[in-house]
């Protein structure tokens, strides 16, 4: 390590501050999930199981919270209907996955830097480096990190079920934390293909398993650095801004039009999520 190297890195860091971020991002993967369209059907969750080699844990372990679904559908009932006899507006469904926070609370607490930020803006988990202190999960406000409490490779895929495992990614062993990766294996393939063909990644060229499966197309995935991508346009349309867009403090949202539906979950915690939700819409019939 030369002194020059050190100072260069320092200057990069300093410049990063002025620009409002610490990376020279090429891509910044992001999502928009339209709760007006989401019907809570679980297709995304199953797609995630198929794509990402998620283990099925069984009833007993599920009851202890040892489940591994990176994508889960939460279902809430309206609070103001708590006293009503029937829920007269249906349920509130919320697909919840890793929010790939820009200022992720899980990242700085890992003692071995197994969870870190990629230059793509992803919140990555290095399985091989993980020692399983589970601090990241404790510090995740969304509780979207899942821990391999057991050795699932031994139990979750009795032959020939194991033939279904996606060879593009690993099967995690016991003692390792895992979570949604925005289907990083697909991102890799798309990047490599684009590089080989000497072009930029096209919007819609690939998508995550959940977005692909969603019957109502409620999930939109794309590159927030690509001004032409559908996701960027949705974010812009709903006036939701990232931390680095204008160097804003994360929680400061300058929505000129508060009627627009974009928001991010637990935004007030300054985690700067990469997933924007669009508010659910219901007819006011009561």
């Amino acid at each position: 390590m030369s002194l020059e190297n050190l100072t260069q890195d320092w200057s990069r860091y300093r410049n990063g501050i002025e620009e409002g971020g610490f990376h020279n991002y090429e891509h910044r993967w992001g999502m928009a999930i339209d709760l007006n369209a989401c019907i809570g059907c679980n297709a995304c969750s199953t797609a995630c199981y198929a794509e990402n080699n998620l283990a099925v844990v069984g009833k007993e372990r599920f009851s202890k919270g040892h489940y591994m679904h990176w994508m889960r559908i939460e279902r809430y009932w309206d609070e103001d209907q708590a006293k009503a006899e029937f829920p007269d507006q249906g349920a509130n469904f919320l697909p919840m996955l890793c929010q790939q926070c820009g200022a992720a609370p899980c990242e700085p607490v890992c003692p071995v830097a197994a969870t870190y930020h990629t230059p793509d803006g992803l919140n990555a988990q290095v399985y091989n480096r993980c020692i399983g202190s589970r601090y990241c999960s404790n510090n995740c406000p969304y509780r979207v990190r899942y821990f391999n409490f057991w050795s699932y490779p031994e139990s979750a895929w009795p032959a020939p079920l194991n033939l279904q495992l996606n060879p593009d990614i690993t099967v995690r062993d016991k003692g390792v934390m895992e979570k949604c990766t925005f289907c990083v294996q697909r991102i890799r393939v798309a990047k490599d293909t684009a590089k080989m063909e000497n072009r930029k990644i096209k919007d819609g060229e690939f998508t995550t398993a959940c977005a692909q499966a969603c019957p109502t197309s409620a999930i939109h995935f794309g590159d927030l650095m690509d001004a032409e991508s559908a996701v960027t346009k949705l974010w812009a349309k709903h006036q939701v801004k990232r931390h680095d867009d204008e160097g804003l403090p994360v929680s400061t949202q300058h929505k000129q039009n508060p009627a627009l539906r974009g928001y991010r979950v637990l935004e007030e915690l300054n985690t700067d999520p990469s997933v924007m939700y669009l508010e659910r819409v219901r007819e006011e019939l009561a």
Binding site: D88, G90, P160, A259, E283
Partner: protein, 735 residues
Amino acid sequence: MMNLKLKRREFLQLMGWSTAGATLAGCDLPTTVTLEEGKEEVVAYLSPEEYVIPGVGVWYASTCLQCAAGCGIHGRVREGRALKLEGNPDSPVNRGKLCQMGQSGVQTHYNPDRLSKPQLRKDGKLVDISWDEAWKVLDEKVGAAAKTSGARVAWFTGTVSGHQAALIGEHLDALGSRHHFVHEVINNAVGRAVNQDVLGEAMPRLALDQAKLVLSFGADFLGTWVSPTHFATEYAKFRSGTRGVLVVAEPKMSLTGANADLWLAVRPGTEGMLALGIAHALMQSGVSVPDAARPAVAAYAPVKAAEITGISAQRIEQVAALLKQHSPSLVLAGATVEGQEQGYQAASAVMLLNVMLGNVGQTIVSSGEFPFPQLRPRTGNTRDLVAFAAAAKDKALDVAFFYGTNPVYTAPASLGLAEGLQNIPFKVVLTQFPDETAAQADLVLPVASSLEDWGTHVAAYQPEQGVITFQQPLMEGLYPGTPGVGDALLKLLKMREAQKYGAFNDYFSYLQNAVASLPEQYKASGLTNKQLWEQTLQKGLLTVDSAPGSLKTNVGEITLHEVKADAEYPLHLIPSPRLGLWDGRHANIPWLQEAPDQISKVVWDSWAELHPSTAARLGVREGDVVEITSAHGAIKVKVYVFKGVHPDAIAVPLGQGHEGYGRYANGIGANPLKILSPAIEARTGELALYGTRVKATRTGVHEELVKEGRNNISQRSRKLVVTISAEQFRRTEGV
């Protein structure tokens, strides 16, 4: 050229293309068909070619058989293994999307409990035998039956269509039998009957995206009704732009109900009265009522309907007003309406609303007639189950083939099917898994999974006109020797009519020939047969346009009787289907067992949904085990207290309670179908699945109900899901 000398009509019938009297041009039949490498991402199947690069997945188009909706799929194959299924964007049914059941096709395929060897009952026990022996036994037994009375041979299947249906038909014809029983628990047979009678078409196209308001009476079109994935894609359009309003009236909240703008907990069995009440309110506001229905409508003023249904008169009037305001609308009747003893009448009352509101022709349009009757889907129902049980009891059958259905599991105990089966001397079950029916079989023939097999399918609900979807193997069979269903059928046919089918080595060549002999008018011009075959496999489907007809509006007389209270059995049992386990056929798929139910979020279990007031009356809370007793049996289920169920109802989901369906399904929960009464829908002869009365009693046992998010049903004033009004949405994003 084939050596076969057949009359053209006979030949077309052989290939499944017989039509009602059309004359056809000649056709050239290829002797051999080869496939070229796929030029696009989606390619035709063949054993590894140069486009198969280790480490790079190749996608093949096929058809999903997890339910009968006929979604097109793309399967990702790498190193000879099928890895993942996604929707086929070319399919008009699912437009590139796929539900969780469809995606779980890989787990059906790779299921560790799959059978690999045929089994024969010897000395009362099923023992593994060789394939040769299996075919020999089959030939002997069926041959013997054919000699005495071929009419005593029956097929008992789930919904089948395409060339599979054609071959089953051929097989029965060859034997001189007419016994093709088609059974599905989750069906819309009564609705089809109503459609047929009122509209003149059993399954017209429903333009959900054109509707401004959808009023669903228990039609869970996002979950389990007809073609859920298709309707979900349509729902997205319905909810964007001007944003349609969704009103759902049902006794137990379904997935569709959970997405409603207005959910009405209607008293079980009174949906027809509610529809008539709404019709009455519409009539009062000046909407004309067809003459035949007028007495029925007049009898149910909103106040009276309110009394019967438990929905307030204001609500009824509000819904009527909404229907008038948002035109065109679409009114749907689902299983809770149809599954009553007067289900046909109730569904007619619902259809009446469509007629009154002028939806027929706008949001309900003709889908035209599928040109090839042989390939048309034989849609499942429960009438055939009743009939089959009766035939079995009457010792009317000697040989029965079972495929694609598990009647021993789905039949109510009161039908006495399991005992009846004892009267059938030779039962052949074609199945992937050892299931409850296979356990009763005399010969169990393992068949290839849907990812190993060839096939053509025609969906009962055609969103666009006439589509034959193609199924092709994504990989080599896991268990060599296991035949595809088509291969097995061909083999059976060859035993009977060797001269007719001898030319086809296998189902693959049969299908190739079938495509090649497709009547010219349905072929895209300028394609050779080879190109046509490849293109068909690449797209996964073949479009056979047929001119749409026009729909009638023949509303008949509607007579509804009051639903009487039952003092001994005060509760209505709702055997509610789940998008996931479906009718129980997917209970052996670990992903689906572990996927929380969309509404209750319970995993790996059965539960009984009880309204808090009912639960309080019984003195039970969540996790308490109750015994649900009908006049025909009892089951024990854990309670799930839930406001989305009518106080007079107790809902138990379908799918669990298996006894012989592999490691993931056995010993979990209970099967509510078992305790159903054999009540019959008066007009159609269908089982009234929702007409069983039960009582629930505490057992004093308490077990944890395993579910997600168990400690919270509300957001606790956090901004997780935010709801805004549709008015605001239309202002900012409306079209």
